[in-house]
Amino acid sequence: MGIISAIGRTPEEHLSSLVQAKSGLRKLQHIESIYNNKIPVGEINSSNEQLAKDLTLPEDHNYTRTAILGCLAAKHAIRDAGLLTSNLKNDALISATTVGGMDMTERYFKEFGSNPEVQKYIDSHEAGDSTHKIAQQLGIEGFVTTISTACSSGANALMLAARLIRSGMAERVIAGGTDALSKFTVNGFNSLMILSGEACKPFDRHRDGLNLGEAAAYLVLESETAANRRGARIRAWLSGYGNANDSHHQTASSPEGDGAFLAMNAALKSSGLQATQIDYVNAHGTATPNNDLSESKALLRIFGDAIPPFSSTKPFTGHTLAAAGAVEAVFSILALENGVVLPNLNYKEPIRETGLQPATVCIPNVMQHVLSNSFGFGGNCTTLILSKS
């Protein structure tokens, strides 16, 4: 697996930030915006130019920040899996993104018609562009596609990857998501009045909104046969998945968390596990008043009185939108491998209606199964279950 976010550029760096409770939230810097130096975000502290250098791109490239982040994380995932790009010809790639190349479009939109120098970014606007670039960088020629189900996109990419392998359509799939911060999403979430001016406080009674972040994370999923054939190290199993729709409102979750409940239920069913076998829940936990209440209710419906330790890791990275599902799958695997429940930063008091208390410090815990939630606009809810190898 490969990951780049505000708290690191490798899984190891992420683990170290997570166990040391080191948040990556800082004031916005790298995009030109009136919110610069004002709102806290999970921003990767490098300019596009620096990042492009890491990827050794030619000077006239038209890679958006979203594409650069995606390529960096996907390349790392390949190395981590002990693969070379020359091995990947028949592999599949499923990538997730929300606003595609918006980070460049918003810079040059008004010059597209007149300035030949920036017209190359017209081509990089569509959401499939970053996926093609990742495929090209990795030499992937198998099934390639892009998913966009808002903030559950990354989880859906992993779910499709597992289904492709199960069906025999692919032996190995590189799947994950990438999203760079953009003025478009900052203003979007701000206009919805769900951006917090401070570091977010998931599951706290006084939570007042989310922080945005940027990240890319990719995982190499492989059939057991194919992994064993090449003697690959198996870091974890994707043992269950579920996708359901809340069908309540375009941007708000239903009061009882119907979609979340159904997604978790479907994931448990597909894994053949009982709710009591889940050792840790990496919650969606955006810290908006609406999500955390609705998700808490859904957790109560699934687990009853026996809710396993749970936390939201959004205060570390910010909400990384389409990448979030893949980022948190990586975190879930790190939790499994190291036997720790990851901390939910900035929590003080329980939500009155549900009284749930997330894990606030890093707790050692023998773990077999972690459940990870990702919910998005459009009612899209997806749950993954990751299990110890």
Partner: protein, 348 residues
């Protein structure tokens, strides 16, 4: 325990209904219209249906064309298939909800990020159409959206096909939609003309289908589908051969080609493909729809209509005197030599 590679009993996948909204009057009676108008103008706007049968006028006023076209095509596809609640909703869109994306972007740029209202942001997300259909049907089942350029529809269809084959679903609503918007298509058209990638106007449209494991009254069987990211023209024959072999089908079984010619530089791919089928009829549909990312869904609609109604082929092109009903159609599309798709539709 994790059962990653079970024996698959592959189920046949049928198309129960097909509905298209396009620059032709394809929606009003779901037939190939008697009069076809070549899309020779600079943009090929879709003929918008009467929405009041599908969406309340109050809601319709707030909705962009992509959402309205998607909802109307999806509703009709469900009613033709006599399905009220599908086991999944899967949409494709190349550019997403462009109208609201442009609106929100212009709002930010013109007002320097101040006094921004959220409506167009909410409606700009790529999954708006599938989400809205979910809300309209109160359908809590599987819901996903593919945004992979000109393979968005095919990606959605691969997922839908997989759902049926997995036995996870009996009926899936699947389709694709793209809208012109106001500004962005002008930029993409500029790029297209710089690269000579098409001579056709930019178009828009939606096509939705109910696909099912049930053959009863199906319009067609979706026999095989493959997408290829990158294929050099000299590899085309090998890729086609592999596709047909895997589909357990011979070149000579195919009796109609539905091709995505658009007058651009990369039409050489279609010429090459046609040469493998010297005596077979072929249809180029894009001159009637314009070029857009969801146009291959229109081609699939056309294939379904032609397979289910013998009389339609002549109406499509009166130069074709042979009105034998096709039995197996190969659909092929590509975009600037990338994003290739092969699809086989068979009579039921």
């Amino acid at each position: 325990m994790y059962n990653l590679n079970p024996e698959q009993i592959v189920k046949a996948v049928y198309i129960k209904s097909a509905v298209a909204i396009s620059a032709q009057d394809t929606f009003s009676d779901n037939r190939i219209p008697a009069e076809l108008m070549p899309a020779t103008i600079s943009v090929a706007n879709a003929i918008q249906p009467e929405y009041k049968d599908y969406i309340s006028p109050a809601s319709a006023r707030r909705m962009a064309p992509a959402v309205k076209m998607g909802i109307a095509a999806a509703s009709r596809a469900l009613s033709l298939a006599k399905i009220s609640n599908p086991d999944g909703i899967i949409a494709g869109t190349g550019m997403g909800c462009l109208m609201d994306t442009e609106k929100f972007l212009n709002n930010i740029l013109e007002n320097k990020e101040e006094f921004i209202t959220p409506t167009s942001f909410i409606q700009s997300t790529h999954n708006t159409v599938a989400g809205q259909i979910g809300i309209m049907l109160d359908c809590k089942a599987y819901n996903s959206t593919y945004v992979h350029g000109s393979l968005s529809f095919e990606s959605a269809l691969v997922d839908a096909q997989l759902q049926i084959e997995e036995g996870a679903a009996k009926n899936i609503l699947v389709g694709a939609v793209d809208e012109l918007g106001i500004e962005f298509y002008q930029h993409t058209s500029l790029r297209n003309s710089q690269r000579k990638s098409t001579t056709l106007p930019a178009g828009e449209g939606a096509a939705f289908f109910v696909i099912s494991d049930d053959k009863e009254q199906a319009m067609a069987q979706l026999t095989a589908l493959e997408t290829i990211r990158n294929c050099g023209i000299d590899q085309l024959q090998t890729r086609l051969h592999t596709f047909l072999t895997q589909s357990k089908c011979k070149l000579t079984d195919i009796d109609l080609l539905v091709l995505g010619n658009n007058g651009g530089k990369w039409d050489t791919y279609y010429d090459r493909l046609r040469a493998f089928f010297p005596n077979i009829r072929s249809i180029n549909y894009k001159p009637l729809t314009g070029e857009h990312h969801s146009v291959s869904a229109f081609a699939c609609w056309l294939g379904c209509i032609l397979l289910s109604d013998r009389s339609r082929l002549n109406e499509w092109d009166n130069r074709i005197t042979d009105n034998t009903k096709p039995r197996l159609i190969l659909l092929y599309n590509q975009s600037e030599g990338m994003n290739h798709s092969f699809m086989l539709l068979k009579e039921c």
